[in-house]
């Protein structure tokens, strides 16, 4: 992330991903409201690299489409999300099942947006060839509950 793209008062975090790589991100407290009626859709290969996304995904992420395609989905990982949630997600979808959960995503400008996410493995001829994620608008009550749960999981 580049500080030039951040709006608001950023706080610096260093994220450690599952593969051990580290990434510096800047986070503000600004939440972008979920756009009513929309589905945010993206698709990755089996390694979690974004191969396809719809316009709502582009709009909410704050990135240009060209900046998203070919990047790992963890580009949107917010430091408020516990690593255990993503471990659970990957364990579930790699086993061929759907995963549902509430996710706080990081925008390019340091802000965030909450989604009710579902991830489904794309199974073709009996093999997982990638994953599709579909996000929809969550209720504020579910967001509040998830926020509390994730803070506890992060030991905050």
């Amino acid at each position: 992330m580049n500080l030039d793209h951040i709006s608001g008062d950023p706080v610096e975090h260093v994220l450690t991903h599952a593969d051990g790589t580290r990434r510096r991100v800047y986070v503000t407290s600004i939440e972008k409201p979920y756009p009513h009626g929309k589905l945010i859709v993206s698709r990755t290969d089996t390694a979690g690299i974004i191969t396809q996304c719809n316009q709502s995904f582009v709009d909410m992420s704050g990135y240009a489409r060209e900046e998203l395609i070919g990047q790992p989905h963890s580009l949107l990982r917010h430091p408020g999300m516990p690593a255990a949630a993503f471990r659970d997600l990957w364990d579930t979808v790699k086993a061929g099942h759907q995963w549902h959960g509430y996710v706080k995503n990081l925008r390019k400008d340091g802000g965030h947006y909450w989604v009710h996410a579902a991830v489904v493995p794309n199974i073709r001829n009996g093999e997982i060839v990638g994953y599709t994620s579909v996000r929809r608008e969550p209720s504020r009550e579910h967001v509040a509950a998830a926020e509390l749960q994730y803070r506890e999981m992060n030991g905050q």
């Binding site: 979920y34 009626g37 929309k38 589905l39 759907q98 794309n122 969550p138």
Partner: protein
Amino acid sequence: MSFNFTVSPSFPNERISDWYIFNTWLQRSLSLPIHLELYDNFGAQRAAIAAGKVDIIHANPFDASLLVREKGFRAIARPEGPPDEMVIVSAAESPAQGIPDLQPGTRLACTDDPCVNTVGRILLEPANLDTGNTVELRRETYIQVAKAILRGEADIGFFPVAAFNALSSLVRRDIRVLVTSDTQVIQHVFLVGPALHDRVDEMTHLLLTMHETDKGRSMLEALGASRWQNVQQEDVEFMIDIISTLTQ
């Protein structure tokens, strides 16, 4: 041997004769006996699918899942144009200005259209409304859904955008749109069953070139489309994956 063709019951009633004209054109073009059977509701159509009485279908996206994944149907085309979106409406004088204003106990009127109802239910989630805290009033037609709202029998109603736009301006004047879906991905598809797989290339070419003649264009226009668009099997598999996340 005659083959059976059907169309998802979500199309407006005034297009019934246009689908018969399309079927006559399809039969003649393929030199194939094809019987068009139009069902009044989704339940009757699903029973026909389960009984193996459908060989060709212009299917709604939710039935496409079953037909492609479990019945071996192949997707060959889809109408060019925007995806199938829906609206949730209330009476114009309703105090609710948006979905978050809706309360438990909300009475919703809808038909048995699985596509519209599934997306509609998802759009109610931000208000924490589900089947457990709402009252669902099933109606046969979208005109009856509108009447249920205008008579105060229902607080909200689910409509496909096309059906909502087909309501008279007088009716629409007394109705407020609370939210319009923007899924960008869910669309009807033209599917061919296993008994006709050897004719798939021919049928695909026929549909994709239909707009090139005056007669074809006129038939398409009557059905509310400008042309058929090529669809790859993977496009439909992707749509089915998306739909599977909405139904669990």
